[in-house]
Structure formats: C-alpha cells, structure tokens
C-alpha cells in the first residue's frame, strides 16, 4: 500500500510514469500482440523506476546517492531546448523558412540524443542476466524493450515540442497547428530512421569497443553543438532576418528532409509552386519509405547482433602485440615520469594519472568537451575583434590590444576542470590500495599527480599558443605566455592544496557542488588576465613578473611535496 501511495504521488511530477500508465491501459492490445501482460507491466514499471533513479549523464555521476527525480530534470532540460526552437519560429517571419530550420534542429537534436541516451538502454546487459533466465517469452522482452524506448522517446518529444506547440496554438490557425503536429511526427520518424541507419552501419563495421567510443564522441559533439548554437545561433538568425533570405536562396537547406516536411505549410499558405509540391511529396513519402526499409533490415539478425553486443563477454585475445611491446623498453610515460619526478612515490602519482586519464572513457567524455571549447573561444575572439577589418589589420588590433592574452587565461580554466575530474572514477573502489601501502609522504604522491596534469593538459596548450602567437604577434608575446603559465602553475598548486581532498580516482562523485568556488576562481583568473592586459606593453615588467611567478611556483611545489594531506585519511565506511 505504501508503495502504491508513493507512485501515485510521484505521478504528478513524472511524465514517464504518466505515459506508462496510459500505455498500460490498452491491456487487450498488448495481449493480442502475444505479450504476457503481467510480466510486461512489471518489467516496464521497474525500468521506468530504475531510469528515474539513475544519475544524470549531463551532470557528474553521483552514484553515491541515487537521484529520484532524474526524469523531471531531464524533462526540463529538453524543454529549455524546446524554448530555443520556439524562438526560431518567433524570430524568423517567413513561416516556411522558420519551420525548415526549426525542424532541422529538432531532427538533429533528436537523432543525437537518441544515439547518446538510448545506446546504454540498447546495450544494457542486465536484461541478459536478470530477465532472460526467468520464464519470460522473447516477445514480451522484445516488446517491453521497444515500448520502454518509446516511452522515453515520447517523453523527450513532448518536452522538446511543448513550447513550440503552445506558441503556435495561440498564433496559428487550426489547420496549421494540426499540420505542425503531423510535421513533428514525421520528423520524429526521420530521426528514428536516421538513428537506425547509424546503428546498422556501425554495428556492421565496428568492433564493440570502438562503437562505445564513438557514442562517447557523439556525446562530446552534442555538447559542442549546443555550445556553438548558443554563440552563433543568434548571429545567424539575425543575418537571416536582416537580409530577408528565403528557402530559394538557401539552397543547401534543400537536401534536408526537414525542409521537405516544412513545405506542407508553404503549400497550405497557397504556394503551389512545383518545388513545394515535389518537396511535400518527398516529405510524405521518405519517412515511410525509411521505416519500411528499416523494418526490412531491422530484422532478426540485427536484434541477435545487438543481443550479442550486450552480453559483453569480449573474448580474451592472445595479444602478439604484447610480446613486441616488452622488447621496446620503457614506455614513454615512464621515461617522462622518471625525468620529472624525484621519487618512486611521485612517479606512482604521475603514472596513475597519466595512464588512467588516457584510458578511461568516462574521464575523456567529461573533460574533452571543456577542452574543445577553447578553440571555439579562440575563433570567436578572433572573429569579434575588429569586425569587418581585413585580416592584417585584425592581427594588428589583436596585438595592440593584447586581447590574445585573454586566451591564455581562458586556457587556465581547464586546470580547474581537470582537478575536479581527477578524483572521480567509476572504479573508485580500487583506491583501497592507497590505504594499505605505507604512504609516508602523500605530498610527494600528489606532486606527481600535479605534474602529470600539468604536462598532459596545460603544457600542450602553451606550446600551441607559442606556435601561434610568436609568428602572429612577435617575440614580445613570449613573456606574456611565461607569465600566464606561471599564474597557471600557481593556480594549480592552490587548487590542489585547497580543493583536491582525495586521492586520484578514489571517489564516486563530487560530494558537493563547488559552483561558488568555481565562480570565484573564474573571477580571479579574469581579474588577473585583465591586469595582465593592462600592463602587457611594459615588457620589462612582464618579464620580471614572469620570473617572480616561476620562482613562486617552484617554491610552492616544494611546499606541496611536504604537505601532510590530512584530508586524504582513510574514511572507515
């Protein structure tokens, strides 16, 4: 009874459960499909509950305490994206063009989230171990799986479309509204066909490990696209509105199915040109043809392959590469570690961070997006400085204003991200080893950790800046780079001392949100960057400060080695 009460309460803030209730109403239909309704019901209810408690992928994993409102948070996030779609419709006066762009965004957004969010469901191995051994028919398993995906999908579509539909229902006539809903459904079909195609191609040609990697990179790509859209979207829309562009002029839009689907509205508004008619026909036929092609291809063989993928027992390969590896002597990271570290303990810290950060998918998944923002910032900065000026004058302007220095300081933000990620891991339980060994000087170990982070994630940026800035802005930018990197070094030691409270990869998640601290550091870096920009023309002063900064960095490094790291003590749980 207690449980029943809880679910009915949760229903109010849980869309997925609501959709599930609705689906479960059609008991007869499900049974006529050959499903054991009782099993079907409990499998779906359990899956929805599990899904609601799993940590959110966009946020850091908080495996420690499971969430109980994941669905609602995700729903709101999608709705915010839906609001952006609405803005497109509001801003672009040409309904045909607005819809083309909006539907293109909708379809691509849906496709990408489908791939990234639904792959774990498709590849979920737990079904194999928990449901398959029970007397549940294949049909029930397959249908409950598909239905679960459908529930999630509808949840997402409703969230994405809600703002647009609400806006439209106040501003368009009734036929337009119904047509829009039809168009949204067709676009969903297109996205499904597209995702299906993606799966079929990748599974056919890629080994499972690579496949999972690709999904990770798609997730990274997704966050980049959102970021780019945020920066460039308003500019683009402004350009489109100001120059009164139409579909006829934007020929590249013609190749997208979303444009074909959008042309229904143009037909409705009385534009009976040949182009509109052909596009509309295409828009109507292509989604269904795609579904037909997929169901033909999405055959038993494909399902079996997915099941084989999910079982996850990758056979152990006898690696011949292993033998050749032994002969080549010490690997690169060890030579590097031995070069920069002064004791085995320090080397241990160096190598664990170096190795695990390059081998763990989840780590890369969380770090790379924040690294990839940097080039985008750089391009943005470059585009925005002296808009409309020719290239050479732009360069002069950048050099004279010292704006490029801002880039150096922006790159220092990565240090913060790296150090926040470095203590977390899915495999945090493997950290028992730190408490068993005689860790007499934890400071040494953590210094190794610091050195690995700096060499791996900060040094490359500085080398890159060096290669870019010296040819573009001249030798005089060297001292600026030296000063900013010294600031970065000092920053990283301070972060290490005050914010890093655990051994590397030893925590399930960030225990508390550090948003305030992050903002503080951000502000501080901004301030330092600004001060640097103010003095950057006094070359000697910059040189002196750089020397001072580096001296301070090395002194602090010595201090870090001696710190006793009380915070790393064993927590008996």
């Amino acid at each position: 009874m207690h449980w029943m009460h809880l679910t009915s309460l949760a229903l109010f803030n849980n869309m997925e459960k609501f959709i599930l209730r609705f689906i479960l109403l059609f008991k007869g239909i499900w049974e006529s499909l050959g499903v054991n309704y009782t099993q079907f019901k409990i499998i779906l209810e359990t899956k929805v509950t599990l899904d609601n408690r799993k940590p959110i992928t966009f946020k850091k994993r908080n495996a420690g305490k499971s969430s109980s409102s994941t669905s609602i948070i995700q729903f709101i996030m999608y709705m915010i994206i839906g609001l952006m779609f609405m803005v497109i419709l509001i801003l672009i006066p040409d309904r045909y063009l607005a819809l083309s762009i909006m539907l293109l965004c909708f379809t691509s957004m849906l496709s990408i989230t489908l791939v990234s969010d639904f792959s774990p469901i498709l590849l979920d191995t737990r079904d194999q171990y928990i449901i398959m051994p029970k007397p549940v028919s294949d049909r029930t398993v397959a249908l409950s799986r598909i239905t679960f995906i459908a529930i999630k999908l509808f949840n997402q579509i409703i969230a994405l479309c809600l703002p647009v539909v609400v806006y439209v229902s106040f501003n368009w006539d009734i036929t337009g509204i119904f047509l829009l809903i039809l168009q949204l459904l067709l676009s969903t079909l297109i996205a499904l066909v597209f995702v299906n195609g993606f799966y079929m191609i990748s599974i056919k040609y890629l080994p499972i490990q690579k496949f999972k990697d690709i999904i990770a990179y798609i997730q990274i790509g997704l966050s980049l696209i959102i970021f780019l859209a945020y920066y460039l979207g308003p500019n683009l829309i402004q350009t489109i509105v100001e120059s009164q562009l139409t579909i006829e002029q934007l020929k590249f839009l013609w190749i997208f199915p979303s444009t074909w689907i959008a042309s229904f509205q143009s037909l409705l508004q009385g534009n009976h040109s040949l182009q509109s008619i052909i596009f509309s026909l295409l828009g109507l036929v292509v989604p269904f043809f795609g579904v037909y092609a997929c169901t033909k291809l999405f055959s038993r063989g494909f399902n079996a392959k997915i099941a084989a993928l999910a079982s996850g027992d990758t056979p152990l390969s006898e690696t011949d590469q292993a033998i050749s590896h032994t002969n080549t002597g010490r690997p690169f990271y060890k030579k590097l570690g031995a070069g920069v570290c002064s004791s085995p303990l320090e080397e241990a810290g160096f190598s664990i961070v170096w190795l695990i950060s390059s081998k763990t998918r989840e780590f890369k998944q969380q770090l790379y997006p924040s690294l990839a923002y940097l080039p985008i910032y750089f391009i943005f900065l470059f585009l925005r400085t002296g808009e409309g000026l020719p290239f050479a004058e732009k360069l002069v302007k950048l050099r004279e204003s010292g704006l490029y220095i801002i880039m150096f300081y922006l790159s220092l933000l990565t240090i913060l991200t790296v150090f926040q990620l470095i203590t977390q891991s899915n495999k945090y339980k493997a950290a028992w080893i730190y408490y068993v060994v005689p860790m007499d000087r934890p400071g040494q170990f953590m210094t190794g950790v610091l050195k690995a982070c700096l060499i791996k994630y900060v040094l490359p940026f500085n080398i890159l800046f060096f290669c870019i800035c010296v040819p573009l802005f001249g030798i005089s930018s060297i001292n600026d780079l030296l000063l900013s990197s010294a600031v970065g070094g000092i920053e990283s030691i301070l972060i290490m001392l005050f914010l890093v409270k655990n051994y590397p990869f030893s925590k399930a998640s960030q225990s508390s949100s550090k948003a305030v601290v992050n903002l503080l550091i951000l502000g501080l870096l901004g301030l330092l960057g600004y001060l640097h920009k103010v003095i950057f023309q006094y070359e000697l002063l910059v040189w002196a400060l750089a020397a001072l900064g580096w001296l301070l960095f090395f002194i602090m490094l010595k201090y870090l080695q001696k710190d006793d790291w009380k915070s790393l003590a064993f927590d008996d749980n």
């Binding site: 590896h325 032994t326 303990l345 080397e347 190795l355 763990t360 493997a430 005689p438 064993f570 008996d572």
Partner: protein
C-alpha cells in the same frame, strides 16, 4: 617456535562503533612462520580485526604490536611489512598488469628495475606472462585475483593477510595458491588467512582462530579443536557459533516453498 618473540602481539583489543562493541577484548600472540586460519560468522568482528592489523582503523583501545612496533605510533613502517589483499578487491581495470604492478610497487617505494623484474617473474609464475601487456578489463575474475595476489607480495612482506583469496580461482589455481601459502610459511612469512571455506582453512592453517561476537572462542590446531577425530572444522564452527535457539534450519525453507 614458542620461544621466539611473537611477531604480532594483540593485547586487550577493543573497538566499538557508537554503543555497539564489535571487538570485546582480543588477546593474541602470533609467531613467525605461522599460518593462521581466521574464521567466524558474518559480523563477528573479523574484518574489523583485519582493518586494525593493516592500519586502516586507527582509533581503538588496547595494544597492537607488530615486530615490537606499536601500530598506533608508527602505522607506516608496519604497512610496509604487510601484504594485504582485501576481499573482493577492485583494481584499475583499464591498466595492464605490468602498469598496475608498477604503480603498486612504486607506492611501496620500490625502484623501477626491481618492480619490472619481479612483476615479470611473478606474472609468468602465475601463468599470466602472455597477458602481461593487455588491459585487465578483458580478464576473468580468476586472472584479476592472481594480479591482486601478486600485488600483495611484490614487496616481499613479512606478514601476508589474505581475505578470501581463492574467490574466482579455478581448481588448479586453488591447489597452486595453497602450495604457495605453505611455501611462504616455510620462508618464515606469517600468513593471516580469512575465509568462509572451512575445508581450505582446515588444510592450509596450522593454527585456527575462531571469533564470534567480538571474542576469540577457539584457538588451536585443528587437532586440538576436534573433540573426536572424525569431526570436521565445519562441524566445530557450527557447534561453537550456532548457540542461539534461532539457529538456521534448512528444513524451514523447504516447508516455506511447498
């Protein structure tokens, strides 16, 4: 043997969590070369004892000395003499055995050459030479357990504490590890063996300690513990720990599912 000084000396060891007393005064002397079978029901205080011995829990009352060193005064020098593999221990699976052992060895402060040499030798002795350079996420449970065992002895410790070391190992590997334990004992290593597998404990240990509800209730060789020659350790265990009336009775289960 009894004439030498004890390697591990535990005097009136007590530990409580809140009001719950987990260890109620344990007294023990353990001598070099002994293989101690440490058994007891779940929640008896076994893992708490092990955590205290390995320096993980530092606040307790009583005294624990290893090699004459008080563990509360100098836990680090004691840790360096210990080799410990926890039960169901995890390791960084994305690493290769060589990388992992290199990491562990360096945490023990060992030099690179020695780690390399020993890891290679140990890995091939455990039959893992071909997999020395492949990531452990492809390994079976038994293979991972072998790597963990290696990581527990790579620094040549005086005392080896093993918690369910045979889990996941196949029958051949079990024989191999049992052999290894007796060889290590012959080398003068002291082995502290915790397990629920009574038949193995009976075979490998030359002294059995039975802990129940925070106190040691039996201490001796298997022959000393037996009241009649046909009795197995399993029986002794059941007899000594199932004192309550609500002891588990399997026949209740049968009647429940009928």
């Amino acid at each position: 043997m009894e004439s030498t000084l004890p390697l591990i000396r535990i005097i009136d060891l007590k530990k409580s969590y809140g009001t719950k007393e987990i260890l109620k005064g344990i007294n023990l002397d353990i001598f070099p070369g002994q293989v101690i079978g440490y058994i007891g029901p779940n929640g008896a205080g076994k893992s708490t004892t092990v955590k205290i011995l390995t320096g993980l829990i530092e606040d307790f009352t009583g005294q624990v000395e290893i090699n004459g060193i008080d563990i509360q005064k100098d836990p680090l020098s004691i840790k360096s003499q210990l080799g410990y593999v926890p039960e169901n221990a995890e390791l960084y699976e994305v690493l290769t055995p060589m990388e992992y052992l290199d990491f562990v060895g360096k945490l023990y402060g060992m030099e690179d050459d020695i780690i390399q040499e020993r890891s290679l030798k140990l890995l091939s002795a455990f039959g893992l030479a071909a997999n020395a350079m492949s990531r452990m996420d492809t390994f079976s449970k038994g293979m991972r357990q072998k790597v963990l065992l290696i990581s527990g002895i790579i620094h040549n410790p005086q005392i080896i504490i093993l918690d369910e070391p045979l889990s996941g190992l196949d029958a051949n590997a079990v024989i191999f590890v049992k052999e290894l334990i007796s060889l290590l004992a012959k080398e003068g290593k002291t082995i502290f063996y915790c397990s629920h597998m009574m038949d193995v404990v009976e075979k490998v240990s030359d002294r059995i300690l039975l802990i129940n509800q925070g106190s040691i209730i039996a201490d001796g060789t298997i022959n000393e513990l037996k009241s009649d020659p046909n009795e197995s350790l399993e029986h002794i265990f059941a007899k000594l720990t199932n004192t309550d009336n609500d002891a588990l009775d399997a026949s209740n289960i049968i009647s429940a599912i009928q």
